[in-house]
């Protein structure tokens, strides 16, 4: 039996892509109200960091902090009060390229700053430092299913710990030889603030929060495909799941980024029509995401 998680409220949304710089424009393009600009923006400035750190912050940190800040502002939540889940398919592809190239030539010359920025939780770490949060964060990857995996983890935390959770998903552009096996173009970040529907969920109670009654709600359910046809330790399982495709003109503007699989979810959010999105959770399972608009 697959269990549906208790409903969570979507309190805030953040979105930034090289050709869709902000949820406002992204939403409009997804709603077919305007076309995506042709020119790509340079990356957002991570204003949360000290001025000296902004320039040398990696792209992963810049994009993640941008959408995280947007979502918290939209939710009218104090960032330091939120637990957070950071999901990225490949992490910092540019630093991975740098590390591998330097190791092949002059391993003793590795930059200590690049090394500590190479960890998958760098964006989460800079976020927690920037907003001064002692709340837990996590950082994860699930290859092609990273967006759905992170969404499931964030919603589970919100309902289990009865507190609002910031969810941030991002990938950046691949560099060098690594880009031939892990292709990813441009920057794409997306964020949500999720809060439990039932209880208070943090410092401000649900009843006190303006507009809480009008919030978009989300129900998640893990949908199993057929059991793998092969035995334990046998050959590959056959995918038996169907997923919702991206439909809007925004798809072309983010295609090629490793996090583009998040798009159908944000198209559904932009549509403001209640409905379901099926996201791939792995080769043999989907995440059924039911969006309920007031």
């Amino acid at each position: 039996m697959s269990v549906e998680l208790p409903l969570v409220r979507i309190e805030g949304v953040g979105f930034w892509a090289s050709r869709l710089p902000g949820w406002g424009i992204a939403r409009a393009v997804m709603r077919d109200e305007q076309s995506a600009p042709d020119a790509a923006r340079s990356r957002p400035t991570p204003t949360l960091l000290a001025p000296t750190e902004r320039r040398r912050a990696p792209d992963t940190v810049a994009i993640a902090l941008e959408v995280a800040s947007q979502a918290c502002a939209a939710a009218n939540r104090k960032p330091a009060e939120l637990s957070s889940v950071f999901a990225s398919t490949h992490g910092d592809l540019a630093i991975s390229d740098y590390l591998c190239a330097t190791l092949a030539e002059t391993p003793a010359l590795i930059s200590p700053v690049k090394f500590h920025n190479s960890v998958h939780n760098a964006a989460a770490g800079y976020w927690s430092i920037g907003v001064g949060s002692h709340a837990p964060y996590t950082a994860l990857s699930a290859f092609e299913s990273t967006f759905a995996a992170g969404l499931l983890e964030a919603a589970t935390q919100a309902v289990c710990d009865d507190r609002p959770v910031l969810y941030v998903a991002f990938d950046i552009e691949a560099k060098g030889p690594l880009s031939t096996v892990t292709p990813s173009c441009g920057l794409l970040g997306a964020a949500l603030v999720l809060a439990p529907c039932e209880a208070s969920g943090g410092a401000t109670s649900g009843a006190e929060r303006s507009g809480a009654a009008h919030a978009t709600r989300l129900a998640l359910q893990v949908e199993a495909g057929a059991d793998p046809r092969t035995d334990m330790l046998g050959t590959d399982v056959v995918s038996t799941i169907a997923t919702t495709p991206a439909r809007s003109a925004a798809a072309a503007a983010v295609s090629g980024n490793a996090m583009a699989a998040c798009l159908p979810f944000f198209e559904a959010l932009a549509s403001e029509r209640s409905g379901e999105v099926l996201l791939q959770l792995n080769r043999n399972a989907a995440l059924r995401s039911r969006l309920i608009f007031p």
Binding site: G91, P107, L140, S141, A224
Partner: protein, 396 residues
């Protein structure tokens, strides 16, 4: 706030200290560490490492060759130890493949395979043909391999929060089961030696040129190690020790240095005790993070000295295994479970003169005794902290 305890139906570990529980227990008992002078890679740094022997000669079976790389070979070795695969097979038959999650931690996953590709690129700059396998050049290489190898189809993710990764998966699994998403979870972690971590930690001046000496006044830094470990958590198992609590927090201080007063560590510890419904005095053994870096051990020692009674036994076991990074959480959880099971609370190998910050809790010598409840500390880069609490069945 307290959680319903979960049973650990099976667990295993594989590190430089030994393959499996029995070898590890013997190495702990006989005070035989697994560290050796560094011989990894073409230009080995002058340090010591915890290397798992034989991986070079142990490719994955043909049916798993898409995932073949050092990290997944080590994962496979761990899965094949202590009858772990059989235990998972029983859980799969009982609950269904889609009701068992795979939640595993790592710091660098199989980046060693990417490093190897860069070292022998084709003249046109592309990867060599044998390494054009996207799955081994991405962090989820580990989780995807483990799920595939075990024939599971539930939620699967790879957690990468540096040195807390494979501790945090226990907390995540507990939430997934509490929410009813799954009935069982394979948790664990694998990290393997690679150039990135050896030269990376060296660039931060955290690598010791000599054998690491956790908690020693003259410690000079860490020894890197590799390891695999797994545990099977079940909502409803017949036997096994218990996960009774978990606590997580962030330092919000610095990317590669712990908070000077151990603020985040304290928050995680208090959270774990609260969820376990126990007091500090109820804890018999603490497996410290104890990396042998100057800062970590000092901060941790002060925290333990302040909060625990003198008869709590605390130690770092990194003198046996080295710092296995993303695998440290599961390795030290497994050692804590061995302590519960066998009453062997290991001391701190290679510590000659304890740092003055250490209270009476931190022991150099092994202690044999009644160990009913144990904590495992994991504190990582980016200020990510996790504390796990385990108990024997008679101490719930």
């Amino acid at each position: 706030m307290a959680i319903r305890p979960l049973r650990i139906a099976a667990y295993t570990l594989c590190s430089a200290a030994g393959d499996g529980r029995e070898q590890t227990l013997r190495a702990l008992r006989e005070r035989r560490g697994g560290l050796q002078p560094n011989d990894f890679g073409p230009q080995p740094l002058s340090t010591w490492i915890g290397r798992v022997a034989g991986l070079e000669q142990q490719p994955l079976p043909r049916r798993h060759e898409t995932w073949d790389c050092r990290n997944n070979r080590l994962a496979w070795r761990g899965l094949n130890t202590d009858g772990f695969i059989d235990a998972v097979q029983r859980a799969r038959a009982r609950y269904g493949a889609h009701r068992v999650a795979v939640l595993v931690g790592t710091s660098t996953s199989s980046i060693g395979a990417s490093e190897e590709a860069y070292a022998r690129l084709e003249p046109d700059g592309r990867y060599p043909a044998d390494l054009r396998r996207p799955i081994v050049h991405t962090p989820h290489s580990l989780g995807d391999f483990v799920q595939h190898a075990l024939g599971l189809t539930g939620p699967s993710m790879t957690i990468a929060t540096a040195c807390s990764s494979s501790a945090k998966v226990f907390a995540q699994a507990e939430r997934f089961m509490r929410a009813g998403l799954v009935d069982a979870a394979v948790v664990g972690g694998v990290d393997s030696l690679c150039g990135s971590i050896l030269f990376g930690f060296n660039s931060l001046e955290l690598v010791s040129p000599e054998l690491c000496r956790p908690c020693d006044v003259a410690r000079r830094g860490i020894n890197l190690g590799e390891a695999a470990g797994f545990a099977l958590l079940e909502r409803d198992a017949a036997s096994g020790p218990w996960l009774i609590g978990h606590g997580e927090s962030s330092d919000a201080h610095h990317m590669s240095t712990p908070h000077p007063e151990g603020l985040g560590a304290r928050v995680a510890l208090m959270d774990a005790l609260a969820r376990a419904g126990i007091a500090a005095a109820d804890v018999d053994y603490i497996n410290l993070h104890g990396t042998a870096s100057a800062k970590n051990d000092e901060v941790e020692a002060r925290l333990v000295a302040e909060l625990f009674p003198a008869d709590t036994v605390a130690s770092s076991t990194k003198g046996w295994t080295g710092h296995t990074l993303g695998a440290a959480g599961i390795v030290e959880a497994a050692i804590s479970l061995l302590a519960l099971e066998h009453g062997l609370m290991p001391g701190t190998l290679n510590a000659a003169t304890l740092d003055p910050a250490c209270g009476p809790q931190i022991r150099r010598e092994n202690v044999e005794g009644n160990c009913r409840r144990a904590l495992s500390f994991s504190f990582g880069f980016g200020g990510s902290n996790c504390v796990l609490a385990f108990a024997r069945g008679d101490a719930l």
